[in-house]
Amino acid sequence: MALILDEEQQLLKDSAKAFLSENFPVSALRAMRDSGNDHMPELWAQMSEMGWPGMVVPDAYSGLEFGYVGAGVVLEEMGRTLALSPFLSSAVVSATLITKLGNEQQKEALLPSIASGELTAVLAADESGHYNLDEVATEAKASDGGFAISGSKRGVIDGHHADVLLVVCKNDSGSGVFAIPSDSDGISIETRLIVDSQRAADITFTDVFVGADALLGELGGADEALDFTLDVAAACSSAEMLGIAIESFERTVGYLKEREQFGSKIGTFQGLQHRAAQLFAEIEVTKSAVLSALQALDADSEKRSVLASMAKAKCSKVVRNATEEAVQMHGGIGMTDEFDIGFFMKRAAVCRQAYGDYHFHADRFATLRGY
């Protein structure tokens, strides 16, 4: 497969770019924050009108079945304007997990309404503040023909807005995923404001009773689907980080051409030129990493996991560097709240930690490569 976007993917990217930059530029994030909100319902409504929440949902469940490269290009453009929506958490990650793991009835019940944007779901996996399924302790005890769920999940972004929680649990038979309405008895949710003006939810489950039909797949049989979903989450959040890196880099290069000190544009200083050129090369290399990881998902290639972890690790590093250099090269104004560049660093910090950070994916990459 050629490592370029095909025509349809390019069209989608162009229209996502036009839509987001016109309707939800970075100033929309600032306005949201300043009015005390933590998400952008109008954006989600408009994305839903365009059918985007169905991007990876199979046609049989009223989705677009457009694939992960499509999801990636939308996320890249979202990264550029820092648009906030449950696109990644619900439409991409949750839809993937349900598609892979659910039975016919569950898919019928959930996927069409996820694809239309009416319903949002979120994966509740982390318990320690780090993505690591080995650390899951939330328990699903068999009871009354169903299960009683007890435990707690930490830092679930969009967790307090989602209609359905996809809760990773353990019991003697192994791990399983339960689709649980977030307003079920026994669930308590506390939220905390996080650095990019979103809220993350800490969710406690106290003997939450669910019927047997809430279990997606079988207890002990979720590992493969969770692994695939992790690859999806890693590759797609990489695409968002790539967008953040590109946008903050372009803004920085613009500033280098404009700001004057010592009687010259600061972009004439070779110390800054070389750092900008280095960063440009890193971003070019990162583009290839992201696209290949997305394509490998669509092709369900055997290299899928290596590429996904490679992309997540590489993007985490590069976006850190790009946003840090962006603030540094703006000088004092880069540190002010009034100026937008700091927003990129904040969102990048959240993306870097989501679905496994650099260290998690670096370790997974090496393990998969045999060392």
């Binding site: 370029i4 290069v253 280098l256 051409k257 972009g267 050129a277 070019e284 990493a289 290949s292 045999g370």
Partner: protein, 391 residues
Amino acid sequence: MENLDQFRAETREWLEANCPEDMRQPMRSDEDQCWGGRKWVFQSEGQQLWLERMATKGWTAPRWPAEYGGGGLSGGEAKVLKEEMSRIGARRPLNSFGLDMLGPALLLYATEEQKQQYIPDIINGRIRWCQGYSEPNSGSDLASLRTKAEDMGDHYLINGSKVWTSYADKADWIFCLVRTDFDCPKHEGISFMLFDMASEGVSTKPIKLISGSSPFCETFFDNVKVPKGNLVGTLNKGWEIAKYLLTHEREMIGGFGLAGGGLKPLGQLAASTRGTQDGRLRDTSLRAEAISFELDEMAFGLTIERITDETKAGQGTGASSSILKMYGTELNKLRMELMMAIGGTDSLNFESDRTGALVKSWLRSKANSIEGGTTEVQLNIIAKRILGLPA
């Protein structure tokens, strides 16, 4: 989309039948490369057969036009050929500055007669070329060069000297930048000429490198007569050709960033040499460095692929050669550093037999970020030409 399945099947079959066994072994060092030329002594029958067979098909230059003896392959076919060669670990049949540098420039700028004269001998490896660019006082600032060519009516007369001329003592011909006008801005008085290194007045003096070998020379021109027909392109307009050629050189050098065929990935090499614990490389600090390296290596390999595919689709990004050159050479230097760390004190052997190959390759790799334009010069090019930062 072209259907490449049949081409792949035929190529696989042909390679199986025609690639000699010893040409499928990983190269032990640079000395296993085949360079061709009038003075070349083949190291084995296999090496000679492999060059002849590949050259007959034009596959030493897969994408060059068939009318000059090239393979005439499409981008897709060339990619298949490359994949099929690496599948059996086939060595490159011919290493040559003619293939990697001069040929593409001739195809674009030379007259039909010149193409007929020079290109077939590049493809079949009969003529070995060297590159006369750098001078003692003109390195990064190449356009300041002062080797002079005077118009003597029926020929040019060349006087001056070049330095760091790789393999000047082994080469048959030179492609050379000369000044044909001294009274104008430095970029505007340069011409691109070709001449035989056996011409009267050409002499070379090998320079020893830190690795102990002498792959490059000082090259002196003392009243060398060059026929007028050996000028490529327009008089005084050689800088454009020179730069175009450099983009090909840079892509070639950047390709060093990819591990050669048949080599074990670095992390696995480290694991098998230094040992593991619970399936992880025991030396955790080395593991972290190997990971960081392999992430970049993989992403870089994909970038070469992406740029190739973009070019095929007519979406070329232009100045990508500087990115590949800069990134690939820094990567190769890091690979060699890590190989030395993995090898420990054994890797320090400097005897000229095969055991000293690693340390010499390590030393040699330090030139990667200097030759063909330094890393700093590539960063200048990216900053100015791609990012448009002010001068």
